[in-house]
Symmetry: C2
Subunit: 494 residues, 2 copies
């Protein structure tokens, strides 16, 4: 806390890494690429998880749990999926250790305990889940299956960054099975919308809804719907995806059902997920050079009350603490999450900086003179504005203020995002915008994988999505000059 | 559902397996020893988890997340712990698959992607957590660390049974660090009491609190506190343990702190956990030959409303459904979890059996004649008692009934358990009780590991715990005839 963060302007990436660590969100572990999520970071994740879980249940889903391991033979059954993940799989080959005969205090892998079939630590669970669904589905009466699981997954990434790309991460994976194609498509779209709603209403993070190009689609899906957010450094971040799987997994795992009209058919599927990556998105959307900025709905504590306690003045301290608890009670009546800082050693300036770093939305200071005047000092984390407020009605006031702040943080992010969507019509413009301004670029594209690949090679920008609300308009591909019917969304991305 | 369960008297073990599967709680998966927890089973686990989580937070703990993998060098650092788990470790040795050159549709482990150091899939997390704590603790001001994590762990058990012993299971693991020995002991005891309270007040399962003998202690602990429950077949089940770790892990991972009085000291630790094993305990404590019996607090749905719908009579069906929804609303005002069965095809008898199998605490039937009389039929799952109740005030009535049932289910279990605690004074008695009546046996023991081992060898009974409330009394060891100061608790156990 003594050292200031590197500024975003100076080095965004260093700022991010320092912030994640100094705000006690997460840190690297002794296991390459795996993170430790610290209590304060995990408390934010719990708020994210609880709300998403509620939204999943409200849309008819139930939670379940499937094994962490996938036998290799199941893993390879859906070929595209297997191919997509094969290069980043952690593989369990043995099930026992034994004492090293050459050094009794050490252990070695027991060569006699080799598994007959290797087990893949799940990078995603479609294979094990669809293999299970085979036993659950006989008739149309067994459908739909609307199931979600909260779990850890492992993808052996070579370059990792806290929350954004880690070898192990936490996520949820919805896996649903349906009797008709239309129902599966509707489900994938419903969950796409649930993610968009959550991002906007809870994370205060505007997102663009669209679908992926062929090359960016999930391995094993027919269509991938995505929500794309924009970070403050002008790079895009894919925040959640919902996949319409067609009958790919049903065919790979032979999941058929007796249709209502008679006859046997393959089941239609979807899968959809968001992960602890959302933590990275949340941080990079709102935070500033002083630390974390949290939308109040996702702040573990929304208000910190700091009474000006003196090391020795116990009588006055008692009055200040009593008043603080009284205020806390009032705030809690409005469902506000409150912490009181009872420390008597640290200086106020030090405390203020620490709570700013951690992104507490509101700081409420109670000083001896405030007691006389029946008022407190309120400081907003997002705008840094301070004001004096009467203690009477402080709960109602802060209840309203937190709602306003949630909206204001969202509006600020929308305004930034909107300023960073640029429509271009030439490739020179495309490159210039990317180099100078960054952000999303809307440009015509001829629809071929070759052009997409070439643009990526030349600029590092990828097609983030074909937006749902893209206008149908005649135009020419920004790279090839061939005909195009709508502009798609490009950006450099996390 | 068409087939009745094997009765408990006939074959308790078959009854258990059939019940777990047919009540849709869990099933075996394609991965040896790993289970799939089905949505209905998982909903019970979620209720368990939510309540425990609340109790952990109320006692000052925060959640965090630590990696699933433990590098071998860390794993072996605390020698007793490593030795205790070495024989059941799943080991990751490679991080990539590649296409089988001999069969392009298959994958093989890429021999070039061998890890320099093997990774153990955590059987428990003390090693990785204490290695992390080393970085978090410098001074007494950093203590205590009161952290819990909800996670999956893997222990490669040879004989597995759904919920009771599975290669992968879900659990929580509290890991705390303290400045003084007394504080660590107090913490271990506090969590021991939290587990006991949860078992009794929520699971309606009486438990005996005590501590483990040396040979049954957790590998790496100085003292293991346990709660021991009794199943209906007379076997004991260890339902939760809380370990005082002394400075064992602090020394193994070099976790020291500057004491308030000056000087550097090793930190004192605890760890404590319960797992999906509690599901097995819950099932075997209360259920009967017709299926699951759930204490209302842990029932995903506490009341099922079954209107007598006719396949064709749409007008009457509408009235019945309207009334059902009205009743549901009334019940929900009291926080009761309610489901309405709107199926028009299945016969009532079939439905009744299905809800009994799944352990819905109360069945509420609404028939056409009931509408006229403004009454409904209530059936309790635990006692099978039926009664007619006026619809006015039904919410309040069921609210009270569910509370009564929670108590009554607990009292029944207490009565069974108390009848199955037998004090014996000779080894012949010991063996006879074990063979005929089963249950817990209180007997004098000379305190030696040899005697304990010998009794286990001869009878398969183990010391479940030395009860907290054991009377200090002079006596002679039931096996060796040597002096003993208190009776300890023996049983055959899961």
């Amino acid at each position: 806390m003594s050292k200031k963060l590197t500024s975003r302007a100076e080095n965004f990436s260093a700022w991010y890494n320092e912030l994640v660590k100094s705000a006690d969100l997460a840190e690297n572990s002794a296991v390459r690429g795996c993170m430790v999520i610290k209590p304060y970071g995990f408390a934010i994740w719990e708020l994210i998880k609880d709300q998403l879980d509620k939204m999943f249940k409200e849309t008819g889903h139930q939670n379940a749990y499937f094994p962490i391991f996938v036998p290799k033979s199941l893993f390879e059954a859906e070929e595209k999926n297997a191919e997509g993940f094969a290069k980043e799989c952690a593989v369990v080959t043995h099930y026992r250790l034994k004492t090293d005969p050459e050094n009794k205090s050490k252990l070695i892998v027991d060569p006699e305990a080799k598994l007959e079939e290797e087990l893949i630590v799940r990078p995603t669970s479609e294979a094990i889940i669809w293999n299970t669904y085979k036993g659950w589905v006989q008739s149309y009466r067994d459908l739909p299956l609307l199931i979600n699981q909260w779990a850890n997954v492992v993808r052996w990434e070579m370059r990792t960054r806290l929350f954004l790309r880690t070898a192990e991460f936490l996520w949820q994976e919805g896996d649903t099975a349906h009797a008709t194609k239309q129902e599966a498509i509707d489900e994938a779209k419903t969950m796409h919308q649930v993610y968009a709603t959550f991002a906007q209403d809870w994370m205060a993070m505007p997102v663009i809804k669209g679908y992926k190009s062929d090359s960016e689609r999930f391995a094993g899906a027919e269509e991938t719907f995505t929500i794309e957010a924009l970070m403050q450094d002008g790079k895009a971040l894919q925040a959640g995806t919902s996949h319409y799987l067609g009958q790919n997994f049903a065919k790979a795992f032979d999941v058929k059902f007796q249709a209502a009209e008679g006859g046997e058919e393959y089941v239609w599927g979807t899968s959809w997920g968001v992960s602890t990556r959302l933590m990275g998105a949340l941080i990079m959307t709102h935070s500033d050079d002083d630390g974390l900025v949290l939308p109040p709905k996702l702040a573990p504590y929304q208000v910190v009350i700091i009474p000006f306690l003196h090391k020795k003045n116990t009588e006055q301290n008692e009055l200040l603490l009593a008043k603080s608890h009284e205020i806390k009670k009032d705030l809690e009546k409005f469902g506000i999450r409150v912490q009181i800082d009872t420390d008597v050693n640290k200086r106020p300036g030090f405390k203020f900086a620490a709570y700013e770093l951690k992104g507490y939305p509101v700081r409420l200071v109670v000083g001896p003179r405030d007691l006389e005047n029946n008022q407190v000092e309120i400081a907003r984390r997002d705008t840094k504005e301070k004001s004096l407020q009467n203690i009477d009605g402080i709960g109602q006031y802060l209840h309203n203020l937190l709602a306003q702040m949630q909206e204001s943080i969202f509006n600020k992010a929308v305004s930034f995002r909107n300023k960073h969507i640029t429509e271009v019509s030439t490739f020179d413009e495309f490159k210039e915008v990317l180099d100078t301004k960054g952000g999303f670029i809307l440009a015509h594209w001829d629809g071929t994988e070759q052009t997409e690949e070439k643009i990526k090679e030349l600029t590092k920008a990828t097609i983030r999505c074909i937006p749902n609300d893209a206008k149908i308009e005649e135009g020419l591909c920004v790279y090839s000059g061939k005909k195009s019917s709508k502009k798609v969304l490009f950006a450099k991305a996390y």
